[in-house]
Subunit: 141 residues, 2 copies
Amino acid sequence: MLSKDLKVVFKKCGIKNTVQRQAVYNFLLKESAPISAEYIYMELTKTESESMNLSTVYRILDLFTRKGLVLKSNLQADGKSTYEMNHMEHRHHLVCVKCNSIVPIKGCPLSDYEKRLSESTHYKILEHHLEILGICPKCQE
Amino acid sequence: MLSKDLKVVFKKCGIKNTVQRQAVYNFLLKESAPISAEYIYMELTKTESESMNLSTVYRILDLFTRKGLVLKSNLQADGKSTYEMNHMEHRHHLVCVKCNSIVPIKGCPLSDYEKRLSESTHYKILEHHLEILGICPKCQE
DNA sequence: ACGCAAATGCAACTGATTTGCATTTGCGTT
DNA sequence: AACGCAAATGCAAATCAGTTGCATTTGCGT
């Protein structure tokens, strides 16, 4: 994505356009899998073309999450939070535990379920995170 | 549960029977919701009848988790891990984003879905992680 | 180009969890 | 029933992810 477009995206959210925010945004755009703040920081500082600080990454991710640009998840077994682009389209992924490939799943198996769950528990259901693990056809051979 | 029975449970797992392990085990048995190590420690030390150290609680929970007696989860928004008895039954939880309380959900909405998914994608489905976020009745007021 | 609020960098802090090490305890053996 | 030793515990210090205070820098409306 061109930085010109990003400027518009940020403006729409009422936040300033900075090199660091562009870097994080563009990095998340390239990644299809949810990733940690640490990982983003590491990758962005590899190429020392831009200044980037770990706490800045955290602050940016937090901001993006609050603005709805990014989705945060605490599901990881190692305790680290992960972040991914919010494509505004509710989507889940099928992850291969052998090759770590990720494919999106068509449709959400929980759309009806949430309605029923809400009725039975009286919770106001906001969202859910689902990740399905398996072995892809290739890796089964 | 009587300590006599616990001795047998521990022996079956090949671990020593200690007062601390009994205390943690019995405490988890009483709790239906997943709870934090900190909480277990606080409650157990309230009644100063037994010696108990926070790192011991962590070590015991880790041991129990490795032995399959206990299920560990990192899905808390506040970053704390939670633990619950492993009743050997696949279970998901509903988390309140306001007060971080957790309640188990009866049944898994994905059991049938996984079978269909496996057929359509030719993946061998191994497991899934699901986290449902909402606002509990109390926090909606 | 100016000025100021917002963003960043840095270092210090926090809170959860882990670890090293000295002491204690459980438990199989004598 | 006491012995010995590996395993478990207590304690304090360390670690790790994430946050925060503050001085400096930067974006952007004027």
